[in-house]
Symmetry: C2
Subunit: 148 residues, 2 copies
DNA sequence: ATATTTGATAGAGCTAACTCTAGGTCAATA
DNA sequence: TATTGACCTAGAGTTAGCTCTATCAAATAT
């Protein structure tokens, strides 16, 4: 069972243009072509690989790093340690991103409180509170371990 | 008390180039200039404003939207509702980002487990587990409320 | 008083990640 | 069989967000 690029675009939400672009950039060298027509034929395994690529991209990893990772995968078992290290490192990255998101969320919450008061009073001048409260120090690592 | 652009760059971690670029893009119209020399003179209030801008940028808001927000701030009290709505909306955005980050984290954790086994076995072929486990449905909103 | 540093502007250059166009091939349908 | 539609490549164009250069003015250090 294989899928055309259009079908994959529908299933994945990635545009046909982008799928071809990724292929050109070396992100999907595993996708085979039809011998006669040269058309791409995606397998289910290819779709799984694509979802890993999407995950890494979602963490902000640039395409050339993702390409390196894919190359490692193609290079076989002697890159296993390297790939493990990559994911362990990326875990740190994501945890830091969540930390930043939580800090942003906190700041946004303060702003929401601030503007609620201001809207109620009809003017900003009536609002007294400072916007920069002291940061709380969430033990992020533990919390995230708990969430998963 | 005012700060030069170089001092602000140091304090904020934003490069001088970028600070000038933001100013050119209309993100910091509130920063006054020295009458005689034309140099920018940042106040403490300006730094606070800048930290809000940094927060919004950190949530992925594009610069032109941030500029609109800043313009609302300059336009005074009749934009209060609009500004409240903006932050309420941005809160949703950040919560969704955290959700995506947690899903990515989960996938990465599975990969880490996978590669640990593979490294131990010396080959990928020995690893049996599927990589795409069913998603857990964390009640994200409540959890985040709890964290803050 | 002079030299160095810091700041200013205008505008060019750069990178990443698409996004689209042109011109062609191949496959599926009326 | 003819036509429509999906796919192909090469390469140009686009956007966001910086980043840097050239050139000049002002401030600070020696």
């Amino acid at each position: 069972m294989t899928y055309s690029i259009g079908t994959v675009a529908e299933k994945s939400g990635i545009s046909i243009y982008t799928l071809r672009y990724y292929d050109k950039m070396g992100l999907t060298p595993f996708v085979k072509r039809n011998e006669a027509s040269g058309r791409r034929e995606f397998t289910d395994s290819d779709l799984n690989f694509l979802s890993v690529i999407t995950c890494l991209k979602g963490t902000g990893m640039p395409l050339n790093e993702i390409r390196n990772f894919v190359q490692c995968c193609m290079d076989g078992d002697n890159t296993l340690n390297q790939r493990l290290a990559l994911f362990e490192n990326q875990k740190e990255v994501v945890i830091n991103q969540i930390g930043e998101s939580l800090r942003n969320l906190q700041k946004i919450d303060h702003k929401i409180e601030y503007y609620k008061k201001a809207v109620k009073a009809g003017t900003e001048k009536a609002v007294t509170g400072k916007n920069n409260l002291p940061e709380n120090h969430v033990p992020l690592n533990e919390l995230i371990d708990e969430l998963l």
